[in-house]
């Protein structure tokens, strides 16, 4: 095999021709610098219709965080009603007389808030934040790519997401109010609901399109633009998580798109895909043709919505894994099995959907099938979580702010996941279905689980994006308050669920003999915790905007350097907040090793970045290698 010489420039090994290329580049850039930055893109192309994955990521991030906040605020209104049913609150007046006359929330308004809370949190909050923001910003950097494979498509995906969100918001203003049939929009209720539901459906079509464009882009980027030497098993775990997530989005969303189209037809064109014959609504016989099947919607919806829930968790796991590896200063334990578990999880998530439908009159065989798949799918999660737990062993744990959130994720997701088991067994689900036990289950996974992971990610990568660290003290205040309050909200839900308190109750169950007592005991406390949680976000919001604006004004923390956490993955090899529309790396990096080479025995450095050329051990083929500028490497 022919041997070609390589030249080292800084920490970067290059073949002669590459080096020449780089040299030319360098000259050109220098010339540019001399007579001011040439070819500046106009403001619109730079900041509004940008095609740069980093800026699009930031657009996604800020938008999604604001939506999260909005979804939270809607929930605060609901929590006020749940805690003190029928009491008049000044803030309720923001909903207008039609929804909250004299500040007392109406039942239909409660249902609207509920549907919107769910929709906003999932489709406008977490997914765009986890995939659109973190995925967009980090994946190309972590795989050493100059940008996404299809930059324009990337822009289009943001510009489908934003209108989708705006349509959802606008639907709050249409007469009769917005969607009010839950985020699950079960027909016939949703089909006979007021005009807002149509807006909801149209909004969903936009959001789905956005996700589809995004997922194609991610998959192609990861497969095609991997840096030289970055084999799949050298990916940071975060990239694997995003990879599987993209496949889930790609294949699970279209059926919901189909379902949305069918429901639109039912509402607009008067078809009856989901409308059985002979419905009598409030004394009136419906005139539609009938012959439809309401369960068809549920199947199409859950076929999306179960994979969707793993879309909510996988990126979170990815972020947590990155931060744990970095702050334990050691490789992830069982990286391989984590990767395979993730892929397996992806496959399985397509065959469990009907565990949301056990009580729709399911026979033994079918329920047995879905119970089994549901139990099976819990195993990979167990594997991933266990691996993360064990990764702590032997580490030198740095309790940085991002690490605090990442660590809290583990038990919180644990609680959420474990409580999925009694729901996954059809027999125990009989009593728990559609109770607050379910609400508790999934909030533990998405709120102190996913949201905490998102916070961790923001604290961890903020320096990369802006050149400033978020304030640590504020960060710790934010963490501890959030941690206490969020458990105060969600843990009592399990007691309520066991008591059989149904979800989506306007008064939290005060009407029901079996629910009265526990509702009265717990709801006020939970609502107070919710308000506390809102207050606990203020330090973060301040911290975020203060530093973001300061950075935008050019006040960087120069001492920080481009790798403040001492991390090994490629995003830290790029300069701090890499220039927009100019690619990410001066010269595309080459990868020589796995993602988490911390505390390598016998190594000179405490950590070895992925793109650090191998000098310590002799290269394959070569003899012992002097650390000179020119070395022999097998080509």
């Amino acid at each position: 095999m022919a041997l070609r010489r390589q030249i080292r420039v800084g920490s970067q090994w290059m073949y002669a021709d590459e080096a020449r290329q780089a040299l030319r580049e360098a000259m050109r850039v220098m010339k540019e610098e001399e007579h001011g930055h040439g070819h500046q893109l106009p403001f619109l192309r730079r900041y509004v219709f940008s095609t740069d994955h980093k800026w699009i990521g930031i657009q996604y991030g800020v938008t999604a965080l604001l939506f999260l906040l909005l979804g939270f605020c809607l929930m605060i209104l609901m929590r006020l009603q749940l805690g003190w049913p029928g009491t008049a609150f000044g803030v309720m007046k923001v909903l207008g007389e039609s929804r909250a006359p004299g500040g007392v929330l109406l039942p239909e308004a409660y249902n609207q808030l509920g549907a919107m809370h769910g929709t906003i949190m999932i489709f406008l909050g977490i997914v765009p934040l986890a995939v659109g923001a973190f995925g967009n910003y980090l994946v190309p950097l972590q795989i050493g790519a100059p940008d996404m494979a299809f930059p324009k498509l990337n822009m289009a995906s943001y510009w489908c997401y934003l209108p989708g969100g705006m349509i959802m918001l606008a639907s709050l203003l249409v007469p009769g109010g917005t969607a009010q049939s839950g985020w699950t929009s079960y027909p016939p209720l949703s089909v006979i609901a007021s005009a807002g539901q149509t807006w909801w459906l149209v909004g969903m079509v936009f959001l789905i399109t956005s996700s589809l464009l995004g997922s194609v882009n991610f998959i192609v980027t990861i497969i095609q633009l991997r840096a030289k030497g970055l084999s799949y098993m050298r990916f940071p775990f975060f990239v694997h998580a995003q990879f599987v997530t993209s496949f889930l989005l790609l294949l699970a969303f279209p059926p919901l798109e189909a379902a949305a189209v069918l429901q639109l037809m039912d509402r607009v064109a008067g078809t009856s895909f989901f409308m059985p014959s002979g419905l009598v609504v409030s004394g009136q016989v419906l005139t539609n043709a009938g012959g439809g099947n309401p369960l068809l919607w549920q199947h199409l919806f859950w076929f999306l919505a179960h994979p969707e829930v793993y879309v909510l968790i996988l990126p979170a796991m990815g972020i947590v894994a990155e931060i744990i590896a970095n702050n334990t200063r050691k490789p992830l334990w069982g990286y391989k099995s984590m990767v395979f578990a993730t892929v397996f999880l992806g496959f399985m998530s397509f065959v469990v959907w009907a565990h949301h439908m056990f009580l729709t009159g399911m026979g033994t065989t079918i329920s047995a099938f879905f119970q089994t798949t549901t139990m099976i799918i819990s195993i990979p999660s167990v594997i991933i979580l266990s691996s993360l737990f064990i990764s702590l062993w032997g580490g030198a744990i740095r309790f940085t702010t991002p690490m605090l959130f990442a660590l809290a994720f583990l038990p919180m997701f644990g609680i959420g996941g474990l409580t999925g088991l009694p729901l996954g067994l059809a027999a125990t689900d009989i009593h728990l279905h559609d109770t607050y036990y379910v609400i508790g289950h999934f909030h533990y996974v998405v709120a102190p689980g996913t949201i905490f992971a998102m916070f961790a990610g923001v604290y961890y990568w903020f320096p990369k994006a802006t050149g400033r660290k978020l304030n640590d003290t504020l960060g710790r205040i934010h963490f501890w308050l959030s941690f206490v309050f969020i458990n105060g909200i969600f843990f009592p839900m399990f007691a309520q669920g066991l008591a059989g308190v149904s979800r989506r109750l306007y008064d939290g169950g005060m009407q029901y003999a079996h629910a009265k007592q526990i509702a009265a005991q717990t709801n006020p406390f939970m609502s107070i915790c919710a308000i506390g949680l809102l207050v606990a976000q203020l330090p973060f919001i301040w911290n975020f905007f203060y530093n973001a604006i300061a950075a935008a004004l050019g006040h960087r923390d120069e001492g920080l350097g481009s790798n403040p956490w001492g991390a090994t993955t490629l995003e830290w090899a790029a300069t701090t907040s890499p220039p927009l529309a100019h690619g990410n790396f001066e010269v595309l990096p080459v990868v020589y090793r796995g993602p988490y080479e911390y505390s390598v025995p016998g190594a000179s450095a405490e950590f070895i970045p992925q793109n650090e050329p191998t000098v310590a051990e002799p290269p394959r083929g070569g003899g012992l290698l002097p650390t000179t500028a020119v070395a022999m490497r097998e080509n």
Partner: protein, 209 residues
């Protein structure tokens, strides 16, 4: 010299590796992988609709017969037109690969023509149904018929628009990057075959069974 080196930074339009030439170890260029993935999601979309059709049909005690209610002759003609158009895109592409833009354009135009004929025929069909007071809300057969053929029609329309673009302004690329232009036609072609394929399924399911 592999594409890593051209992907140097700093150009106003920075260039993405492998958006023209296949990546050695994966053997495809970005666009091609992209379209295959997109088609995978399209399969899920129409797959969901077909399964809905099956579920509704098996659930219904009576189901109208397409071959009686619908215009099978026209649909058969349409089927052949679409198949023809699938052939012509391939022709267009192979001529472009031989560097013959003129022929390529001619075949693209023929493809567009076929598509338009298809749409016009569909228009006649719809009009015919409406005359006989068959609307989506009439029954679930027509509901699914209009929904699926309508959605398929939109896909055709989308294809037409893209082809028109590549026939007109898009063709400028031929001068600067002929290979890339050819690739784009190949990609649209793949999409077009898929749309064609969907029809091949729709036709028997709605019209004959």
């Amino acid at each position: 010299m592999d594409a890593h080196a051209h992907a140097s930074v700093g150009h106003a339009e920075l260039e993405i590796p492998y958006n023209v030439h296949p990546r050695p170890d994966t053997g495809v260029y970005n666009g091609k992988l992209g379209i295959w993935l997109f088609l995978a999601s399209e399969v899920m979309l129409f797959g969901a609709l077909f399964s809905s059709l099956i579920l509704l049909r098996t659930g219904a005690e009576t189901w109208p017969r397409g071959d009686v209610l619908l215009n099978v002759k026209l649909a058969t003609v349409n089927t052949f037109i679409l198949i023809l158009s699938s052939v012509t895109v391939v022709m267009a592409w192979s001529h472009l690969r031989l560097g013959d833009l003129k022929k390529g354009r001619i075949y693209i135009s023929v493809t567009i023509l076929c598509a338009l004929i298809f749409l016009v025929n569909k228009g006649f069909e719809y009009a015919h149904e409406f005359e006989h007071h068959n609307f989506p809300k009439t029954n679930n057969f027509f509901a699914i018929y209009f929904t699926m053929t309508g959605l398929h029609g939109l896909h055709i329309l989308g294809g037409v628009i893209v082809f028109l673009y590549f026939l007109g302004p898009g063709a400028k690329m031929w001068v600067t990057e002929p290979e890339r232009y050819t690739n784009r036609i190949e990609i649209v072609g793949l999409y077009w075959h898929f749309v064609d394929l969907v029809w091949i399924f729709l036709f028997p399911v709605l019209y004959l069974m």
